[in-house]
């Protein structure tokens, strides 16, 4: 089975007596309440999904990631996974201190051994990571909403965040690895999505499955921008489609708890590395992966993989061009495989689909399977 990024699946969860002792100690520690993105990051770090990270980035790692897409030790890591201060007290934290990381209800989830507390330039981070400072970019808006003081250090989780949704679909990396191994899969393609599934996505997934043993459909269910289709609707679409059009012994549907950064190319690298930790060997990268608006070029998320040696990434990216149904070909195709003009292609933007659903119209069957269209219509109605 493929090795996790860095060679070892991180496990920062503690159990038994050690957990009891740490939980008791939390009462005496300063508290830091995490926002939704940080909660998701915490859970993923603890479970090894962000291996080799063992905590939130320290200053040296943060600056290295922002400037060169590598941790301070040179390992590829494209997205800052940072914890922001929430009060003036947090700004005083220093190396050797401990802080209890709590959820919005004040429940202690983890203890962080603080390595450093440092100030960052959000404009610079946005420009480097998101390639823009534009206020309209949701990632820029996030940075503007948090403190420019970050706290770095190793975390130890004593309690997982409470989840009431997708409980049956929450698998940690060690579990997906056991699952793939038990099913005898050696080559596993991962599909990341924050959108409902249309025929184009189905086409890419099935193309990937043609050259692998199994498919992990891994919809992101962490925080997204308000006009994205809600995760519960997307999951219903996937469940419906998988039950009717996918070979159940070749597909795993599980949720990816991360928040969207909308960082386009950099997030494509991040999404790929993290899926390697889940045990996947291949990663599907479509057009404008993790993009938003027109901030990134259509295939920037393909090109960025060329900035690294393949063995540094060590999960095989499967690049796909823009996919659609072609009326002349009479099948799904991409700009790479179809010789016909745009007029023959059935493709709708997300905005157009939302407009149609808003008017009570269903997208055409060449674009969206009727079962999915019905679910989307019900959700929007």
């Amino acid at each position: 089975m493929i090795h996790p990024h860095g060679g070892r699946l991180v496990n920062r969860m503690v159990s038994g007596e050690a957990r009891e002792q740490l939980a008791k100690r939390c009462d005496q520690l300063p508290k830091l309440a995490l926002n939704q993105r940080e909660l998701a990051d915490l859970e993923m770090i603890a479970a090894g999904a962000m291996s080799p990270l063992e905590g939130f980035l320290t200053e040296s790692d943060y600056r290295s990631v922002v400037n060169s897409m590598r941790l301070a030790n040179g390992m590829v890591w494209s997205i800052p996974v940072a914890l922001s201060a929430k009060s003036d007290d947090h700004r005083q934290l220093k190396s050797g201190d401990e802080v209890a990381l709590v959820d919005e209800a004040g429940r202690a989830l983890a203890v962080m051994a603080v390595d450093d507390c440092y100030e960052v330039d959000h404009d610079y981070e946005a420009q480097m990571v998101l390639r823009t400072n534009d206020d309209g970019h949701p990632g820029v808006q996030y940075l503007q909403s948090i403190s420019p003081v970050y706290i770095g250090g190793t975390i130890t989780m004593i309690r997982r965040p409470e989840h009431k949704d997708f409980v049956r679909h929450r698998l940690e990396p060690k579990e997906t690895r056991v699952l793939f191994s038990t099913r005898g899969w050696n080559r596993i393609a991962a599909f990341q999505t924050r959108n409902p599934i249309h025929r184009a996505h189905e086409y890419l997934q099935k193309c990937a499955l043609e050259v692998t043993d199994g498919l992990l459909i891994h919809p992101l269910v962490g925080e997204t921008k308000s006009d994205d289709i809600p995760a519960d609707v997307r999951m219903r679409c996937y469940e419906e489609l998988i039950s009717k059009y996918y070979p159940s012994d070749r597909v795993v549907l599980s949720v990816f708890p991360a928040a969207m950064r909308y960082a386009g190319p950099r997030e494509a690298i991040f999404h790929a590395l993290v899926r390697k930790n889940y045990g996947c060997t291949h990663f599907i990268v479509g057009r404008d992966h993790a993009g938003v608006g027109s901030y990134y070029g259509t295939y920037d998320a393909h090109a960025i993989f060329g900035e690294f040696e393949p063995q540094e990434i060590d999960i095989t990216p499967l690049f796909f061009d823009h996919a659609f149904f072609c009326r002349v070909c009479g099948n799904m195709a991409t700009t790479k495989t179809c010789p016909h003009g745009k007029d023959e292609h059935v493709f709708l933007s997300g905005t157009k689909v939302r407009e149609m659903l808003g008017k009570g119209e269903l997208p055409p069957a060449e674009f969206t399977r009727p079962e999915v269209a019905k679910l989307l219509a019900e959700a929007s109605g």
Binding site: M1, P4, R8, L9, R168, H169, L171, P173, K174, E175, R177, V178, L179, S181, T182, V252, G279
Partner: protein, 82 residues
Amino acid sequence: MVARDPSEMVTLKIPRPLYERLGQLIEGTGFRSVTEFATYVLRDLASHPPPAQRPEKELATGRMTDAELAAARERLRELGYL
């Protein structure tokens, strides 16, 4: 070289072809006998914790203990994945 007290030494039996092969391997290496070479290799091996003392073992699934592996399989069964 200080002669060792024979009572501190024991004899290990290995197949003769292996003994002869090891003899060929140490030619020109500085090891003066198969015994010296075998002692060196075994000391090196023994400097690592034996598998029984390691809480983790290497599995195709990553480094998981037997208990963790069983728990993961049980959860996957409960969720309907297995």
